[in-house]
Symmetry: C2
Subunit: 551 residues, 2 copies
């Protein structure tokens, strides 16, 4: 039995505490999540471990819209001590409830019925997704924590009231970044999916990767999961002590990829047939990285489950480290991602646009190029790594230090305001024609091959992560950077007269010129449309951002 | 941890011992299986329980063709005491090895590798089906226990050397009935399939039913399995002690049948993708009783897995009781089934032929009609049942006594020889036009509806189990019965001159007149052909024998 309080204290000792609200009085979780500097010194793997444990101690409960929160908690406490809970609203009111002890989950499930109303037929797969029924008429709606971003126009309005561009950037970060509740919900969904995916492979594990964990995730972003089958190990004999040995009789297939496809196909069937609260299941098994996509309706999350994607997990950890090295990194990335999205420079629709991942690499490269640098190069992080941190995946060196405390703080003190303007100016006149961006060395290099935009993949160094970008998309980015730099310089970094957008807000307003040319996302793109365009893009180009999901 | 020796001793106390060969010296299992009277007094459910336990303690091992048995056993014994083992040959040499303790299985599996040869890719599903590798060159082939019947012409030759028709019938029974090894293998295959089928439904269980367990199974007969999902129970509250209650959030479907189809579909995918040694998987989900059919290649068994088939399980138990009440029952049924099969009266191809199940009902009915009766009627068995044995399934009364010791032995002493002839005479002049066969009452009744042959379903009493039979099939049966009765009477029940078939052997030779009209099974009917004809027959007729599999 794992006690979450103890686990959390491990992290608390190392830096910012992961919120746990054991005890009688439930405190809102979110208050603890954001500290002044938006950074943590906890190791990526430690955070993952604690989050996974929290999720295993948690249940997802569908509730009536009105509920007496105190009575609800009293009801739950008969099964054990509740460590934390919160409500959210997504296709109905739901609660995430974390128990202190695993045993309490078992008691709770043992006290749970199978739906047995007349004329109700179910697929009797038991999970930790529960429906609460009550004969009591609730008096009030519980406080529901949001799971999606506030609309951009509300955000812009909010930013106008800030004191400085730096304040604006931090306000934006606070509003867009994943909240504590959202992170908990993501790990819980991952844990529920893991129960399904590992039924046949008890040694396998499901990891979150990509934006959910790389510290650059925006509220409502997709949930990228991968099933690590490499944890499945058989006995490895040293010396042969006998003339006999045994091996499992296993289904032989033509390649590791075929095995992944078979496994994902079956898991897709299971999620489709049993997965409580899952729908729109799509098997995209012929993609470069085969995946099963589905909507976890109760959380509102679109989930992509792949089998094995270890480089992507390393990539997520690298971004996590960069995001937590200095408070300006995430603030700048979030501001520039919003800026690029508003103007149609990036898009969630796969195509010839710059991806969020590429844009983030450009920000990191820019920060490496400052004097003194705000963040170290990947090679510097590699040199800080100990022997045990050596990591070679599929022949690619993915080594870097994992302990944030081993990385020296930067001497660079440039304010966010000027970094933002400098970024826009830097790329407004960058020599994209001949130069290549490489965060491993932190210096411009000659492009190894023709491409409008060449950003070297930090791990698979022979790949260009922005191979999909065409010249016109790049040119629009350059023009916009120049234009936005001009707007900000013109304002002199001070709030303008009341009500009129200024600073960051002023460059987050779509210009009328953007119209018609931008790949604006429709308010609601149906899953089938998204699949269609994804497949289309995979045909065109093997290296779009989406074909390397979730870096 | 369950000790099989203890379990077996439970059964041994009740009658014939289930073979267990714990101890250093391995004895052949088959020697213990056949006692003089071919009957047991053990309850059906006790036998099932012990067999399931044996299977859980067992592993299936693919071996080199030549192997040193002593060294093999010595190798295995490092993991724990071996309770029993035997070899068989089906798509390569295999061994079934039963360990005394469950823990030994875990040790054995922990010492087993995942195939890791270069260029070998596998779906890493771990089961108890293991491949033994050895660097040693084996000197001899191990004794392999047969899993299939000897050919009919060899059997006929053997029967000619017997002393009496009774001896012939028992010889035939010994050669055709399931051996101890075959039964163990069937339970082991069921156990391996159960591991797959219950991965998502840990409370569910897989039962064998039909010929594998009803005491009338012939070597090589299909393995009928059903997944009992009704064991999945949630908490059932008595009085509401709280205004709150919880239920599992489960996928809702339009009917119980739809739930079964969804579950079987997923299990079919799993067996197809992971199932070690399984192939030719066919989902036949639109049949009256949805099923997944596949070949378990390593045992050579064709398996039919249905979801829920409780009446069929009761039917199997009823046949088991009848088969073990008196030694003449199974001997007579086996003899008559062989007789009918040779002459094309029955067939494994669904169609207008009499099924084995119908023929068995005719034998039971005949034995109930003797004076004094050889076996009791179903109503008599029902009246012997205790309160706890009451069983209503889908509104059908399936109650009967389960303790064989509560059923009084018959006073009827008629020899098998005369029972065989009397059977042929009885049905040679039976009034099929107006009468209906009913083993529940044990008396002829007027047919409730038109049908060439009307045999009342003992449990679903409004159904005719031989609705599929047409007039010409019935007429061929009647003619053949008359003809065979004449042949036997003519011989006077004594061995004829040397070499010439006599007695049972003489009626097991296909007459030239059979040619062309009989539904003879091709030597090898492909799975797709079988499926084709099955589907065809389901379209024609909803009540063929195969649509009620495995009674």
């Amino acid at each position: 039995m794992v006690n979450c309080i103890r686990l959390n204290s491990v992290l608390r000792a190392g830096g910012r505490a992961l919120s746990t609200t054991a005890g009688k009085k439930q405190r809102p979780l979110v208050a603890e999540t954001a500290d002044q500097h938006h950074v943590t010194r906890n190791n990526f793997s430690d955070v993952q471990r604690v989050r996974h444990e929290q999720a295993k101690h948690s249940v997802l409960i569908g509730c009536p819209a009105k509920i007496n929160e105190n009575k609800f908690l009293k009801y739950l406490s008969q099964y054990g001590e509740v460590a934390s809970h919160f409500f959210f609203d997504s296709n109905g009111t739901h609660a995430v409830v974390e128990f202190v002890d695993l045993q309490s989950i078992n008691s709770f499930l043992a006290g749970t019925k199978i739906p047995s109303d007349e004329d109700v037929f179910v697929v009797p797969y038991k999970s930790r997704y529960i429906r609460l029924k009550t004969t009591e008429v609730g008096q009030q709606f519980p406080k529901c924590w949001p799971q999606f971003c506030i609309p951009m126009n509300s955000l812009v309005e909010k930013l106008c009231g800030a004191e400085s561009i730096e304040d604006q950037a931090h306000l934006l970060l606070d509003d867009l970044q994943l909240t504590e509740e959202s992170i908990r919900l993501r790990y819980l969904v991952s844990s529920l999916i893991s129960d399904i995916a590992t039924a046949y492979f008890p040694e396998a594990s499901v990891h979150l990767y990509g934006s959910s964990v790389n510290s650059f995730g925006k509220m409502g972003c997709d949930l990228d999961l991968f099933l690590n089958l490499e944890d499945i190990k058989g006995y490895r004999s040293g010396k042969m002590t006998s003339a006999y040995s045994t091996e499992f009789w296993m289904r032989r297939v033509s390649s590791g990829r075929t095995a992944q496809q078979k496994i994902l196909s079956v898991i897709g069937e299971c999620i489709d047939s049993f997965g409580p609260g899952c729908n729109e299941v799509q098997k995209i098994l012929n993609a470069r990285c085969p995946l099963v996509r589905f909507i976890h309706q109760s959380s509102g999350l679109q989930c992509d489950l792949t089998a094995d994607n270890k480089i992507a997990l390393r990539s997520s950890e690298l971004l996590y480290i960069y995001g937590n090295l200095d408070h300006r990194v995430r603030a700048l990335v979030f501001a520039l991602r919003s800026w690029a999205r508003v103007h149609g420079i990036t898009s969630s629709i796969p195509g010839h646009w710059i991806t969020n991942f590429s844009l983030t690499m450009m920000v990191l490269f820019f920060l490496q190029k400052r004097t003194p640098p705000v963040i170290p190069t990947l090679d510097q992080l590699k040199n800080l790594a100990g022997k045990k941190e050596k990591s070679i995946i599929d022949g690619n060196d993915c080594t870097f230090v994992k302990d944030l405390n081993k990385i020296r703080q930067t001497a660079n003190k440039e304010p966010l305001d000027s970094l933002l303007i400098e970024f826009l100016e830097y790329y407004g006149k960058f020599d994209f024609k001949t130069s290549c961006i490489d965060i491993r060395k932190g210096v411009e290099k000659n492009k190894p091959e023709a491409a409008a935009l060449y950003i070297q993949n930090p791990f698979e160094q022979k790949l260009n992560i922005s191979k999909n970008v065409n010249q016109s998309s790049l040119q629009r980015f350059v023009n916009l950077a120049q234009e936005s730099a001009y707007i900000l310089q013109d304002q002199g970094g001070r709030p303008s007269k009341k009500g009129k957008p200024w600073g960051l807000a002023s460059i987050l307003l779509p210009a009328s010129a953007d119209k018609g040319t931008s790949p604006k996302r429709k308010k609601k793109v149906s899953a089938s449309e998204r699949i269609g365009s994804l497949l289309e893009s995979l045909k065109d180009n093997d290296d779009t951002g989406k074909a390397q999901p979730g870096h």
